[in-house]
Every structure is written in C-alpha cells, then in structure tokens.
C-alpha cells in the first residue's frame, strides 16, 4: 500500500470506525440472510401455486373427461334403444303412414277409420237436417254447439 494511502486509511480508521464497520458487516449479512429466506419462501410459494394450478388443471380435465364419458354413455343407451329391433307384436301400423310403437303389449291401440275424415261446411251440416229446426250457437270463441229443436 502506498504511504499516503496507508496514512489516509489509518486516519479514517479509528476505534469508532472499526465498530461501525463490524456493525455494517453484520447488517449486510443479516440482509443477505433475509433476502435468501424471502427468495426461498417465494420459491416455495411459487411451487405451491404451480402445484395447485397443475392439480386444478388435472382435476378439471378429468372432470371434463368424466362429463363427456357420462354424456357419451347416455348417447350410447339412446342409440341402443333406437337400434334395437322391437318384437313384431309391438309394432302397429295404421292405415295411413303413421307408425305407432307400443311400449308394452297391454296397451290397446284403437284403430281409426281407413279413410280420412271428410270436412263439411256449416251450410252443409245444417242441410243434413232437412226440415228440422237446427241452429249453430257460438258459446265461446272456437267452440260452437249444434242445437236441434224438437217440434212436440
């Protein structure tokens, strides 16, 4: 060390200064330890957060898979119902094109007429009664009654 530098160093370094430097050293080490601890804690927290996120992701994916599985299961049942061929006695065909499927053999199927229902107008209806006194009376909207008056 150069003589001037040594003198300067000795002039600055008195007992009080040495004490200050020791305290400063302690402060630095304390701060370094605190920083290390904070970093370790942060790493731990980050790891825990990552673990939670991964768990949540895994859970949500497995949940989604379960829901999809359930849905596809239901669809599979419905598909089987559609595809299963019913016994011949349970299938009834009407005269028209409507196909009736009975859920059970106990259900009675009422067969309607082979031909379609003929629609007539009000005048034709009243004309069917000839000389008799008849009238069409509207009781409420969409409903009318045919009143036949007997002469006796």
């Amino acid at each position: 060390m150069k003589s001037e530098e040594r003198l300067l160093s000795d002039v600055i370094r008195d007992a009080e200064y040495e004490q200050f430097q020791r305290e400063l050293h302690e402060t630095i080490l304390r701060e370094a330890r605190r920083k290390k601890l904070v970093r370790a804690r942060s790493a731990l927290l980050a790891m825990a957060a990552a673990l939670v996120m991964v768990s949540a992701l895994v859970w949500s994916r497995s949940e989604a898979r379960r829901v999809i599985g359930e849905r596809s299961g239901r669809e599979a049942v419905a598909g089987a119902a559609r595809l299963e061929e019913l016994p011949a006695g349970m299938v009834v065909r009407s005269a028209a094109t409507v196909e009736i499927v009975r859920s059970s053999d106990d259900v009675e199927v009422v067969r309607t007429a082979d031909t379609g229902v003929e629609l007539i107008g009000d005048g034709e209806l009243l004309g069917m009664f000839g000389e008799e006194m008849v009238a069409l009376v509207g009781s409420k909207p969409g409903e009318r009654r045919l009143v036949v008056v007997e002469r006796d």
């Binding site: 402060t27 630095i28 701060e31």
Partner: protein
C-alpha cells in the same frame, strides 16, 4: 493492477488438456463477475468478501459527498449497503459495479437531504459536479480519493513541525516505531501513542477541511 500476472487456468476437455490464459484486466472483471454471481446466489461468504472490498471505498465516497459529516456518511453507508445487497445483480466488471454502487449512494444522499430539508450549501461536490456527471454516472473512485488525499495533504500542513515529522518518518520514510523511539530517546509505546493522537488530530482537521473548504 501492479505486478499482477496473467491467470492461467486449466481446462479439462475429455481427451485433451489445454491451458487458458486470461489477461489481467479480464481477471479483475472475472473476479467481480464471480463475486456478484455468488452474491446473487446468496452465498454469505461472498457478502463478507464484498464488505471487505467495498465498504471502506463507499464510506470514503460518502464522506466526500457529505463534506466530512462522518455520522451522516455512516448513516448513508448503512442505507446504501442495504439497498445494494437487496438489489444485487451480476456485474461484468468492477467499473459497472462501482458506478452502480456510487449511484445508489448518491441517491440515498439526495433522498436524505430532501428528508432533512437541508440547505443547498450542504451539498458537497456542488450540484454542478453531480449534474455534470450525468444520469447514471458517478464520481470515480479516483476522484474521491483525489479529493480526500488533497485535503489530507493540506491537513498535514496544519500540524506543528514535530507532529509532521513523526508522521513523515513513520509513513513516508517508513521508519519503525522502535527506530523513531531511539532517535527521540523514548519508548516505542510512547511513539505509538503520539502517532495515534496525531492521527486523531489529522482526522479532525481533515473532516473540518472537507466540510468548509470548496
């Protein structure tokens, strides 16, 4: 670095043995890079080494900045070191590390001045000098040491002849205390005590000069 020899390190490559010669300047940079890297990793020994290398230098810088206000400089040194340790990162070389430390120190100083609401004349190296260094720049270590050395030389002239002679013999002529004691027909213990008292006197003069001289 005077007298430093290039560092030779051996590289182990499977099947090959070769040496790597690192120039002196790069050695210094490598030392700082490794030190700061170890500090970033949280190695306590690195922080101790850092304290040994830079605490005196930082204190001197702050002593000049505060114009010899020792207590204020200590307070700032403490605050600066805490900030430096908290924000430590890897530095490529000493110049960058020191400039950064000095900037942290200077910011601490300015913050403290604002807090204390001190008058502008308390600013040490004048605002002009601080501004002229520009944003991010700092007073070089050489400038600080130069300022201190200048004041020390001036302070020496304030000592009386006998005191100055004692200092010059011990520090500049590198005489031993024993030899000085024999010349003065006294004990080396007495010379040691006398030197300690003169250093204390010099210290007071130096701090006063720093405080009041422009």
């Amino acid at each position: 670095m005077e007298g430093a020899v290039p560092m030779v390190t051996s590289l182990q490559i499977p099947g090959v043995m070769c040496d790597r010669i690192i120039p002196v300047g790069k050695q210094e940079a490598e030392r700082v890079r490794l030190l700061t890297e170890r500090m970033v990793r949280g190695e306590e020994a690195a922080f101790s080494e850092f304290h040994g290398l830079y605490s005196d230098r930082l204190f001197r810088y702050l002593l000049v900045l505060t114009r010899g206000q020792e207590d204020f400089a200590r307070e700032l040194c403490q605050a600066t070191m805490v900030k430096v340790v908290r924000a430590m990162r890897e530095f490529a070389d000493e110049e960058h590390l020191w400039n950064w430390m000095a900037r942290v120190g200077r910011n601490c100083f300015i913050d403290a001045l604002r807090k204390r609401k001190r008058s502008p004349e308390m600013l040490p190296l004048s605002e002009v000098e601080i501004e002229s260094t520009g944003e991010g720049a700092a007073l070089s270590s050489g400038a600080v040491d130069g300022e201190l050395m200048e004041r020390l030389k001036e302070s020496l002239s304030d000592l009386d002849a006998a005191e100055r002679s004692l200092i010059e013999e011990f520090y500049f002529e590198e005489k031993t205390q024993q030899a000085m004691a024999e010349e003065r027909q006294t004990s080396s213990k007495a010379v040691e005590s006398k030197l300690a008292r003169i250093r204390q006197k010099l210290r007071t003069i130096l701090l006063t000069r720093l405080r009041y001289e422009k």
